[in-house]
Amino acid sequence: MKNRKFQKTFFLIFFFLFFTSYFLLPSNVYCLSVKRTVLQNGLVVLHSEEHSLPIVMVTLLVKVGLLNELKDKAGLANLTAELLTEGTKHRKSTDISEEIEFLGASLDASAGSDYSTISLSILKKDINKGFELFSDVLLNPIFPQDEIERKKEIIKGSLRQREEDPSFLVERAFKKEVFDDYPYGRLIEGSAETIDNIKREDLIRFYADYFLPNNSILSVVGDLTEGELNSLINRYLSDWKRADLPPVAAKGLNEKRTKKIVKIDKDITQANVILGHIGISRDNPDYYAVSVMNYIFGGGGFSSRLMQSIRDKMGLAYDVESFFTLNKEKGLFQIEVQTKNESADLVISEILKQIGRFREECVSDDELSDAKSYLTGSFRRKLDTNRKIADFLASVEFYNLGLDYVEKYSGYINSITKEDVLRVAKKYIDPENYVLVIVANQKKADLKY
């Protein structure tokens, strides 16, 4: 359970890097040849051949996640995904893990804010068997009652265990405070109460409603020819039928921006602090300017203003960073830091000082050009494994970026000016109406905020 928190952190960071960096590579230096096909049943297939190693990476993205859940059944998307590999018409849960692990392969399903994925990583020699298992969990899950109970207990137990982790507590409280009842304010796992509300019928219904070819993207990268892929699809996915999707229930995001401070007491040595508010959606035209701006402010590792001041000069934290979570709908903007209880006040006031300065003065020419050269120059380096490419292609399709996005994006980044950076800093970082959550030994922290 332990490294769940890292998975989460990793996800957020990765997500950000993904969209700030991956697309930036000028296409003339890194050719990614991708074939896009739309099948008759509506499934979008993306395929890139890479024959240097005998491996195949498959990602199936299904457009269903947090946004499709009801509040009192939060955790439904996650539980549905987790149970796909826990029993099908043809196999018991234990048969699935035994068969896939005997091949030294992996087959996992998970849900996220905007979408769910099923991922298969397998050696080329085993692709037939692997694809058959993959199609079985995708098309034939039966959601056995005992597996549902078992999974619920594990998820609830792990939610409980994570309460040991102050970063979990601070993130959960922050999200909830910013989004209120909006789905992005909830954990993907839901809560102990909402998990108990989920019945087998809910899972079956949710699966039947959303796990449809016309709601999915299949991305395949590796040692597989077009002919081989086509025959796998014909053989194993031909029974997957198109159907109408349920109407999208409009969920209003209440964009209140009021100042709110939440303090949680815990017997720990470090204050865990998050300061921020609602951010932007992935399709915001200011996305590129925000990427450059955030890199300079707090996203650019050791080059960022926050890191230079709070870690390098003041020695007050091991890590401090800011990021925008980029989702289909508006996500979060947040600054996250951990510092010993006693210096929490000082760190918070330094963050506010940095925000103030950042919204008043233009960044320097050097800062701007360094940010651009990092963002544009790091692309080809980051997209360096078949697994990353498979996931990347599926996301590009999901966010409607187009397969030529790589070329366009580089130009967008390079067109950003200092004035753009200042404008979006003023527009998307709010120095007054923010949510501030502090998990700490409150007595020792003795906050003035």
Partner: protein, 457 residues
């Protein structure tokens, strides 16, 4: 499956934490190695000053990595100065006579690169990843900080504070990791492996500029390091540049490492930790040999039979059938200079007794000490190892890590020996090593006992 190991690696040693995604793959290589038949042959060099260089040309994508492996880690620290190697690792980013403090990473980033470093008990690694047309920047930067580190007094104090924050983050406020420190410290009486890589808080506080400088001068030399380059490079050009940049750095004769030993454990040791936490947690550690000991291969396979995925014995018994644990892991890779530990850990399910978790674990151990595992079960573990090895080759970073690690352990060619060793493991070997090492007298058991919170919310 190797969560614990992953934690350890990530927790202690990173200069910063933004690189989880790379490290999360590392666990599979360290656990696991070889099969896409065998290791690719690197070009090998040795400079007159003793610097070893391995270059693997891989032109799949226009990217490259350069890594500098120093043959020193926390086990080489003087008494009372635990955390010295790790603090020095941080100081390696804080300026040389040529570049001011905190310039290193800026240069790397503005060229589209990533840099980082980590410290272990046995070695310390620095690396950069660049698009291949920029990789020479690495050569110059690394050569500079191998010889010209400043270790400024003021910067030292500030970075020491940063490391103390890192320790609070990873250990003080993390109950399961706190137990890990306790168990390792109790497992070793004499061997410096007992010290945490990040160092005890009081030791970190006592480290001064002179400690760092002396350590740097003794251990950071070309004769005590290995450079590994993997990626889209021309090895002739690369070695020329390395010779030009590193060739003039004088070697430092290294006094032979004093040989460390640990007396045989003759009775179970138990450690209890009471701390604010939600669920009880168990961590057991057994002394075992390290690679390439003849028993290390079977121990690797045994570890996978016990906890390699949801079809493994411990998962099936403790999590799936008995429902007494939320997760189970074993961790053994054997990739240490001296004999280290085989770990088992599990978090109790809510409302269950940690005693039952412990007993269920011993029951599975007894079972594998008495009955031969099936050929199929052994083959499954071997398949997992082979497959991971092939998949890891997809990443130049992982490739470089593998060559560096095996070179540190003796010779990169051990990669092939490792794989051959794994392939030869028979069911009888599993029973033999389980009997030989996983016994009561040889283990240290730690239990985290959650205490009530000070104020209930």
């Amino acid at each position: 499956m190797l969560q614990l190991f992953l934690q350890i690696l990530i927790y202690l040693f990173m200069k910063r934490i933004k690189i989880f995604f790379i490290l999360s793959n590392l666990l599979s290589i360290l656990l696991i190695v070889s099969s896409y038949a065998h290791a690719l042959e690197p070009k090998e060099y040795k400079l007159d000053n003793g610097l070893r260089v391995l270059i693997v040309e891989n032109h799949k994508a226009p990217v490259a990595t350069l890594q500098v492996w120093y043959r020193t880690g926390s086990r080489d620290e003087p008494c009372g100065k635990s955390g010295l190697s790790h603090l020095l690792e941080h100081m390696m980013f804080k300026g040389t006579t040529k570049y001011g403090p905190s310039v290193f990473s800026k240069i790397v980033q503005k060229n589209g690169g990533t840099d980082n470093a980590y410290t272990t008990k046995d070695y310390t690694v620095y690396f950069e990843l660049f698009s291949s047309d920029r990789i020479m920047i690495s050569v110059d930067l690394e050569a500079d900080r191998m010889q010209n580190l400043t270790i400024d007094q003021k910067e030292t104090f500030s970075e020491r504070d940063v490391v103390m924050e890192e320790r609070r983050l990873r250990f003080e406020d993390d109950p399961q990791n706190s137990l890990f420190e306790e168990v390792v410290a109790a497992s070793f009486k004499e061997h410096p492996y007992r010290r945490p890589v990040i160092g005890w808080m009081s030791d970190i506080k006592s480290i001064g500029r002179e400690d760092l400088y002396n350590y740097y001068k003794v251990y950071y030399s070309p004769s005590n390091s290995v450079i590994v380059v993997v990626g889209d490079v021309n090895s002739d050009q690369m070695i020329e540049r390395i010779k030009n940049s590193f060739g003039n750095i004088p070697p430092i004769p290294l006094k032979k490492n004093s040989s460390f030993s640990e007396p045989e454990q003759r009775g179970e040791r138990r450690v209890l930790l009471r701390k604010e936490a939600e669920l009880p947690y168990l961590l057991a550690a057994y002394h075992i040999p390290s690679f390439p000991d003849e028993d290390s291969y079977a121990l690797n396979v045994l570890s996978l039979i016990l906890s390699g995925g949801k079809s493994s014995r411990l998962y099936k018994s403790l999590v799936y059938e008995k429902k007494i644990a939320l997760d189970v892991n074993t961790d053994y890779d054997g990739f240490n200079k001296n004999p280290y530990l085989f770990f088992f850990d599990a978090t109790s399910s809510p409302g269950k007794n940690i005693k039952d978790v412990e007993e269920a674990f011993y029951l599975e151990i007894e079972k594998i000490q008495k009955e031969l595992p099936s050929e199929h079960e052994v083959q499954k573990a071997k398949n997992q190892i082979e497959s991971s090895f092939i998949m890891d080759q997809d990443s130049i970073y992982m490739e470089a890590m593998k060559y560096g690690l095996f070179e540190i352990l003796g010779d990169w060619r051990l990669i092939d020996r490792y794989l051959e060793g794994i392939r030869k493991v028979k069911p009888e070997d599993i029973v033999r090593v389980a009997k030989k090492f996983l016994k009561e007298d040889n283990r240290t058991v730690g239990i985290l006992i959650p205490t009530k919170k000070k104020d209930e919310k």
